[in-house]
Amino acid sequence: MSEPRERDEAVDRWLRRAKAAPPGAGPGAACLDAETVAAWADGALSAEALRVARAHAADCQRCQVLLAVVQRLETGDQAARAADRRGTSRRWLGWLVPLAAAAGAVAIWVYVPRGSSPAVEEGAAPVAETAQASNAARAAEEKPEAGARPAEPTQALVADAKRQAREKERDEARGADATSAQALRDRAAAPAAAAPPPPTTVTAETPVGRLEQFAARSLATSLDVASPDPLVRWRIRGAVVERTSDGGKSWDAAATGLTGAAADLTAGAAPAANICWLVGRGGVVLLTTDGRTWKRIAFPEATDLSAIRATDAQRATVTAADGREFVTVDGGATWTRRVPA
């Protein structure tokens, strides 16, 4: 460890080894409120407000945790919205086929001269096609409308919110501290038409490990990797990689064996339905060639990797967070640095 660069990397490993317990101190008067944190997350704070907020957060463990939680939630929400958009575009594709068929049938019906060919007798065919196509189009039209509605009727949801408000009022009337764990337990124990799953109240018996886990990485965000087969794709949730082979109806999970910071996977590429490369922080490279089991590929540097392109199980190009690219043509046995053109 004689080189300065090696010693710098040792500092990196030292910090990675250390733990971060959740904050225990109370909020200060200058602590950021949710509105400010939300505006920060949306990039809506003025330069001066941002400077003040950063200066505070740099010295406030509670606000750092809050910022981190919100940032992870935003990442997760963006991923969910992207998945929704992909679903929407697939629904549009579902529309396009019957619509195109219907348009084609109408065009044939309109433009083909009725009296000039046997089509007069066969005229029934295009009409039947048109009817069939328009039925298909209608069916396709009805499907997304039905799917767009939430499972629970809106009236019930409104009633549920009102019920919760009434319950809270009762709690307050009883003099209960609405923020205490007991009040939360009371509320959860009250009978409800659409009761949420039993809450796990955070009390003295809550395992400390869970709290630490929260501070370290409780908010796994999902990363989707599509393959050339539209039915097959992977998604990464923390250290677990899931694969679907039926377009997302069911998912099979497989552990990668990664733990801690190494479980931070950042990108993936699937050049075939059974081949997928994943990269992450600290030089993590994973490869599966059967779609199920994952092999850790040795990478020359413990640097953060941010992107990967792959053409098959042998050839891949990995991009480090600092922009450098590394290429392998032998399934990761050797890597060479790509010199920019």
């Binding site: 010693r7 040792a10 509105e35 997350a41 949306d42 463990q61 939630l73 935003e74 939360l184 809550t206």
Partner: protein
């Protein structure tokens, strides 16, 4: 902060606030409250004020006003649009379902209740339209979750000396030399971090203590992830240089410094990054100790 009637009407129209029965007067009050919070202590020009207001999430602000006032259709719309996302956030915060009750309680607070003076007090009054309604809801949920964790942690009893956990805890063999090395390195690290700029500490805290990715850290700092990576590398170098300097001041030879670094790389000991990067008081102690002992440790 006075907003011209013409501007209010334009923003009211832009927000389609009439859809929820929000009057221009009501909307004007919401706009004024928003400007008063964001521009507190400043006297913005008419142009600055207009620019600020035009950049707000006006449709969300109108919806929040209507929900706060108990408009049924607005409530239906709000619940249909935002409940799935809020529950998704609750499940992401705590996959065991522990945050669902927080989300439900949040709905109750958002709905608000007529108090004895018949005034409805909805949580929506704290939404000012600077962010989207969805981001604000997630931030409120996150805030409640973090504060609940903090409260739970404060309430955690210290382990009883005779408790099964305490009795069962295996006695760790103590290596005094190793303990001393870890202690001196932790102290030197605290002093080195105290000397960093606030932005550097925040970057380190987000990345190492909170475990955010480079991209997420970059979004908080307003930097590209490659910039975050470069800045982290620079900061690590500064920390290493400062730690080595401090240890040399203590009279440690280079070989011993290298050994100290090797020890903490193997096991960082009781070092708490949350405190290191997020607790100014703890760092001040380090810095005070350091100055007391003539810039040494």
């Amino acid at each position: 902060m006075q907003i011209s009637a013409r501007l209010v009407l334009r923003l009211h129209r832009q927000a389609d606030a009439a859809r929820w029965g929000v009057t221009p007067d009501r909307f004007a009050r919401a706009l004024e409250a928003s400007a008063a919070k964001a521009l507190a202590g400043r006297r913005p020009s008419g142009r600055d004020l207009e620019r600020y207001l035009a950049a707000l999430h006006l449709a969300d602000l109108a919806l929040a006003c209507a929900c706060a006032d108990g408009h049924d259709a607005a409530w239906e719309h709000f619940i249909r649009e935002h409940r799935p996302s809020l529950y998704r956030a609750a499940d992401a915060i705590d996959p065991t379902g522990g945050a669902r009750d927080l989300a439900d309680a949040l709905y109750a607070d958002l709905f608000g209740l007529p108090k004895a003076d018949a005034e409805r007090r909805s949580l929506f009054r704290y939404f000012h339209g600077r962010s989207s309604l969805g981001t604000w809801l997630r931030a409120v949920l996150a805030q409640r979750h973090v504060d609940r964790l903090r409260a739970a942690r404060r309430a955690d009893p210290l382990p009883d000396d005779e408790s099964p956990a305490a009795v069962a805890a295996p006695a760790k063999p103590i290596d005094p030399r190793r303990e001393a090395r870890v202690a001196i390195m932790t102290k030197a690290l605290g002093a080195a971090v105290a000397a960093l700029a606030a932005e550097e500490r925040l970057r380190l805290g987000c990345y190492y203590a909170q475990g955010l990715t480079l991209a997420e850290t970059g979004r908080i700092l307003g930097e590209h992830e490659a910039t975050v990576s470069r800045q982290l590398a620079r900061t690590r170098q500064r920390i290493r240089t400062e730690v080595e300097r401090l240890l040399r001041v203590e009279g440690l030879p280079d070989a011993e410094i290298a050994e100290c670094l090797a020890v903490v790389v193997r096991d960082a000991g009781p070092l708490d990054l949350g405190v290191l990067f997020g607790d100014a008081d703890a760092r001040k102690e380090s810095a005070a100790d350091r100055s007391k002992e003539g810039k040494g440790l």
